[in-house]
């Protein structure tokens, strides 16, 4: 790379772009007269990122097609790992849980977060104090937050105590040990922690919508709902794109909460792809199989990120 960096051919290859750049700037930047740092200052960063991100990801992708267990030799086994994944009900369940948690948490955090942001948007005098309170869980570690909720969902915990005092004994249950409720309990924890994040992004988006446009719509006879749907929502579409994309990418990687709340149980009812990657690769030593699961997760994350970008970026006005 460094050999071609200062060669003259570069100027010849892309003459248009370079001329345009020079015209735009106040003066051409010539080496020697005035230069900004040395190019090799970027080298440690480039090497580190190529090594830790690109090489590691590529090697991990290659492992996915082997039967390596971390020690000794390995064989290329083609798609066998993936066939095994799709024949194992636990892995299918983990895939379903991952998608459920990601999609449901994005929907709930964004609807609630947007609702809070709209509620706090104008006139509220204590909005900054309220914003600090609602955002507080975001800065905490997901692991610590999950332990608080593990107690709340405990059989002897506050939820069951409240239900008992309300005379709803039939609803009392060990929430995290109940296969049909455990995944919903995990969802509650994620939504509680992430809503403040969506709210803050929407508050920033709403602050940029001029009140005059809303007033004009109101004078034209638009109701509260019409004003929201046709005026406010189109104006904050960039905020929607950011909040949903980040939410889905993080939602697909849910790990800490599961490890703290249920450890994947009861009977695998709350396993996600991330917890399965950890268990297969690092607890059981099946590096090849774990890498195949990780590759699957990586592909799903990429697909969702691309879909999300397409949907929110190119939606026409009437949406």
């Amino acid at each position: 790379m460094s050999a071609t960096m200062y060669s003259e051919t570069e100027v010849v290859i892309v003459p248009k772009r370079r001329r345009r750049e020079q015209r735009q700037g106040t003066r051409p930047r010539r080496a020697g007269v005035l230069s900004f740092g040395h190019w090799w200052w970027a080298l440690p960063g480039i090497v580190l990122v190529i090594g830790i991100h690109y090489v590691a990801t590529a090697v991990g992708g290659a492992y996915a097609f082997t039967d390596w267990t971390g020690i000794g030799a390995f064989h290329w086994i083609g798609l066998d790992n993936f066939v095994a994944i799709f024949q194992d009900p636990t892995k299918i369940g983990a895939l379903g849980n991952t998608l459920f948690l990601a999609i449901a948490s994005v929907l709930l955090t964004n609807v609630i977060g947007l609702g809070l942001a709209l509620g706090l948007n104008r006139l509220i005098k204590t909005r900054y104090a309220l914003r600090v309170l609602f955002f507080m869980p975001v800065v905490l570690s997901p692991l610590a937050v999950s332990y608080i909720w593990k107690f709340i969902f405990d059989f002897n915990g506050p939820i069951n105590a409240i239900l008992n005092s309300l005379g709803l004994q039939s609803w009392v249950r060990p929430w995290l040990a109940d296969p049909s409720f455990a995944i919903w309990a995990v969802l509650v924890v994620i939504v509680w922690q992430q809503t403040g994040f969506a709210m803050v992004i929407y508050m920033a988006g709403l602050a940029a919508v001029p009140p005059e446009i809303e007033e004009a719509a109101a004078i034209d006879g638009a109701g509260l709902w019409q004003r929201f749907w046709h005026v406010v929502l189109p104006a904050i579409r960039p905020a929607v794109a950011i909040a949903t994309t980040l939410g889905i990418v993080n939602g697909l990687r849910i790990f800490d909460q599961i490890m703290a709340l249920t450890n994947g149980g009861p009977a695998g009812a709350t396993e996600t792809l991330a917890t399965q990657v950890y268990k297969q690769a690092f607890s059981l030593g099946n590096f090849g199989y774990g890498a195949a699961l990780a590759l699957l997760l990586a592909l799903i994350i990429l697909i969702f990120a691309v879909i999300q970008q397409r949907l929110t970026a190119s939606r026409p006005e009437e949406a």
Binding site: I52, T57, I124, L130, Y147, F151, D256
Partner: protein, 278 residues
């Protein structure tokens, strides 16, 4: 037309009620942590302790080996500080060079970092673990700092490059005319001007490293050097339903970050709302 009416006042009161319900878990957290062992099951889980005591905190701070909370706390502080230092230095240097250079390679390098932000980390962890094990970096605090720096460097470079683009070159030109060399220009002129970006990088990266569980569980698992979340995980695993001790640990892990947050809440929220936008 948007005036403060009775309905606005009602909305404000409603939001406060909502906020108090929303923060109810913190009440349970503090109430339980202050209960002495004799009150864990004898009093209602909803009630405030009859005789608040700090004995659970003493239990929490006495964990040994893998579950040594104090050791974990010190390791977490070293790792967070070291990673922030690395990310600020390397991020600023790299971001500066690639955003100031008009040469074609700098554009390509910028995209190299941009793509790395989106690249899912799970896939890389297996080979990274094996690589780190081979050269003996697992279980080492310094290895973790290098790892975190590399993992978060694309984000740091992205934030710095954005700030550098918006900064005019006049100060650097003036310094160059006054005879400063490139190193002096960078460290005396550019870096101080970049303090808002440095703040954002430090907060975002600091939070991610401090709260990280997955990476440190894998790379430090089985060693004596644990971070706070990992020692919390192992210690709590050994305390079956001793909720007052568990919550004492949870509070110890939360206090540093909450103090930072309440002290610099505006910067935190702006960092999240603005920094991740790009």
């Amino acid at each position: 037309m948007f005036r403060y009416t009775k309905r606005t006042a009602l909305r404000e009161i409603g939001l406060w009620v909502l906020a108090l319900v929303f923060l109810l878990p913190f009440y349970f957290l503090i109430a339980m942590a202050l209960k002495p062992d004799s009150e864990i099951y004898s009093t209602s889980t909803l009630a405030w302790p009859q005789h608040p005591s700090l004995e659970s905190f003493a239990t929490a701070l006495n964990g040994q080996g893998n579950a040594d909370i104090v050791h974990g706390l010190i390791n977490s502080i070293i790792m967070t500080a070291g990673s922030i230092l690395g990310l600020v230095l390397l991020g600023a240097l790299t971001g500066y060079v690639i955003s100031r250079s008009t040469r074609r390679w700098s554009r390509g390098v910028y995209y190299l970092f941009l793509v790395a932000i989106v690249l899912p980390t799970q896939l890389g962890t297996v080979p990274l673990y094996i690589g780190a094990r081979t050269i003996g970096l697992t279980g080492s605090v310094w290895g973790m700092i290098v790892l975190y720096t590399g993992m978060l460097l694309p984000l740091s470079i992205f934030l710095y490059a954005g700030f550098f683009r918006g900064l005019g070159t006049e100060y650097e030109e003036a310094a160059a005319i006054d005879g400063a060399n490139r190193t002096q220009i960078f460290f005396r002129i550019v870096l101080p001007l970049m303090s808002p970006a440095t703040g954002t990088v430090a907060i975002l990266a600091g939070l991610i490293v401090w709260n990280d569980f997955f990476t440190s569980l894998i790379f430090l698992g089985g060693s004596e050097n644990q971070t706070l979340p990992v020692s919390m995980y192992f210690f709590i695993g050994s305390l079956v339903s001793k909720w007052n001790s568990i919550f004492a640990i949870v509070i110890i892990s939360m206090v540093p970050i909450l103090l930072f947050y309440l002290f610099a809440q505006k910067k935190f929220i702006q960092g999240f709302a603005g920094g991740l936008k790009g």
